[in-house]
Assembly symmetry: C2
Homo-oligomer: 341 residues x 2
């Protein structure tokens, strides 16, 4: 492209020989113009380096091409990874994603929604904080903006829900643990941030009952999103006091498991499935870091790619006019066997 500075669409219309309304159509949706004119526009675009002013574009359009992606805590690599995945799908589908983190704070989550409102997005992919979320605020937001809820469900709001099948997660890994050693105790937070945690506990109870074992749930204190530290402190106490009735511990999530592994290290308790190991520890989530714990963590992993794809596609079809009733999709996880259990 040459250095020609094009100031606005009108000027670009002149140099490209295409009328401004047609250009407007093209920038809104390149496939909406004849292929002939499209190639002419794109040839001119190569030459002249022009990009429409997004503020002027979005001012009058009823529907922008913006898509908001909101996760509860971006510094958790699990959410960072799924956010990256969603972001790239949005771009591939021709949308402009903007990333937001609620930073684990319900008040901030509401602020994010307010900001999002003013962006007039075509749609939003929202992973709510969960228990702590302001339900009313979420509900009002979903009424105004096409919103797809993922990861953690809150009632039947928004267009649909896409997440993992927490019952299957826990049932599957509990089954594995029972078949390969002592039945697991369940290690969790007493007041978990995320409603998935309740499903996992319930699923553990069901599975243990089914296998004819006595369940043993250890719920540790701790608020907030510092799960590793909660797991470490809670682990110390539980190990000290002998709360665990078997040598196998299934954690409600991987970050809790990571903290528990640290507690084990600090107490000089060897973890793994070898004969020289005192206990087995397993997690749930397939956290990006779980491969690099010592020992590497046995876990059941979200199908990141499938969750992202299902969520993104559901939103896009809704944006493009398809009306479908509210629906919940829960995808199965995959067992990842490593040394810890």
């Amino acid at each position: 492209m040459t250095g020609n500075k094009i100031r606005n669409m009108e000027e670009f219309a002149r140099v490209s020989g295409i009328s401004r309304p047609t250009l407007s159509k093209y920038f809104n949706d390149p496939s909406s113009v004849r292929t002939n004119t499209r190639t002419r526009i794109e040839a001119a675009l190569e030459l002249h380096d022009y990009r429409p002013n997004i503020y002027a574009m979005n001012q009058n359009r009823k529907l922008t091409k913006n898509v908001g992606v909101v996760v509860p805590l971006l510094s958790d690599p699990y959410f960072a990874e799924i956010a990256r995945n969603l972001e790239q799908r949005c771009i591939a589908a021709g949308y402009r994603p903007t990333l937001f983190s609620s930073h684990g704070d319900p008040a901030f989550e509401v602020e994010v929604l307010e900001t999002l409102r003013s962006l007039k997005p075509a749609g939003v992919l929202l992973a709510p904080l969960g228990r702590a979320s302001d339900r009313k605020a979420l509900e009002r937001f979903c009424e105004d903006v096409p919103t797809l809820i993922f990861d953690s469900s809150v009632d039947e709001i928004g267009l649909a829900f896409v997440g993992s099948d927490n019952f299957q997660f826990t049932a599957h890994i509990t089954d594995y643990l029972c078949r390969t050693g002592e039945p697991p105790c369940f290690f969790e937070m007493k007041t978990p941030a995320n409603p998935n945690a309740h499903r996992r506990r319930q699923s553990y109870l069901n599975a243990m009952k089914e296998f004819g074992h006595t369940p043993d749930v250890i719920s540790v204190e701790g608020e907030g999103w510092g799960f590793e530290e909660i797991g470490r402190l809670g682990g110390h106490e539980a190990l000290q006091q002998g709360y665990f009735s078997t040598n196998t511990i299934l954690c409600s999530n991987d970050r809790l498991a990571i903290g528990l592994l640290t507690a084990c290290y600090e107490k000089n308790i060897r973890v793994g499935r070898g004969d020289d190991c005192a206990i087995r520890v397993a997690g749930q989530d397939g956290h990006p870091h779980s491969r690099y714990t010592c020992p590497p963590l046995t876990t059941i992993s979200h199908n990141y790619d499938a969750v992202s794809q299902t969520a993104a596609e559901a939103l896009f079809t809704a944006i493009e006019g398809q009306v479908s009733p509210w629906k919940s999709t829960r995808l199965e996880g995959k067992l990842i066997l490593r040394d810890s259990a």
Copy 2:
């Protein structure tokens, strides 16, 4: 606030009894109007729930209140943490931050800059990919947009650079390791993504020379941003082949150290400073996860808060008109002693 739907600033001017230009001033900078009128406006705001249309606002304003925050890889908790910190500082200073990740990809980094250009930001806080970055593209961007470079410096571009003093980092932790045991070998990537790595190697060589020890640098193969896996694989080979000439290993960064710890675990090599341990391992960065490795990782930590604060304030003063010559600020790190070394 009542349900009164205010459609635009003109309507809000009527119901509030304030003229539209004054309102415009207020929304641009609340402190630019008399306190009396300000309270009147804010009282009306409580009643009527109106927010100016950001697209119309930004269309004609020479300078928006937008600030871009760009990091190389958001799924690295180190960058996620610093991004969160910067984001909150922007909000506190009255700016509207937007978060971007280059996803470790130079081509995507350039795309992010293009996107950012069209947002007409007042300023940008940019942590470049480093070695792989398109220098020319960065330079051109910095000429057009007030940009503060942080974390990883690329020539003398932008308004200024703020980051950590990598020489101090490595000198300090090398000193510690020498004083408390065998002098360290240096474990690094052969082709690091980040220019800080070269400073750290050089600083290691300097420090070892100063202490009268023979340096020993082990550079492992591996491309990309999967540092843990590179550290693990490289660690396996180095341990197998006996590359390490002493029992102490200083890693170029924490993620590499995390991979090395996993390799040690897999090779059944006990890490730590106890008598029963074979080697000591230390990292550099103060990675959020370093607390939860087994053993917990001794490292030298970035001063996250000071780096963020210095970077943000430097950008804001530049935005607000202060012209100052290009300057590089490098902040010292703090040694964090844990069990690994």
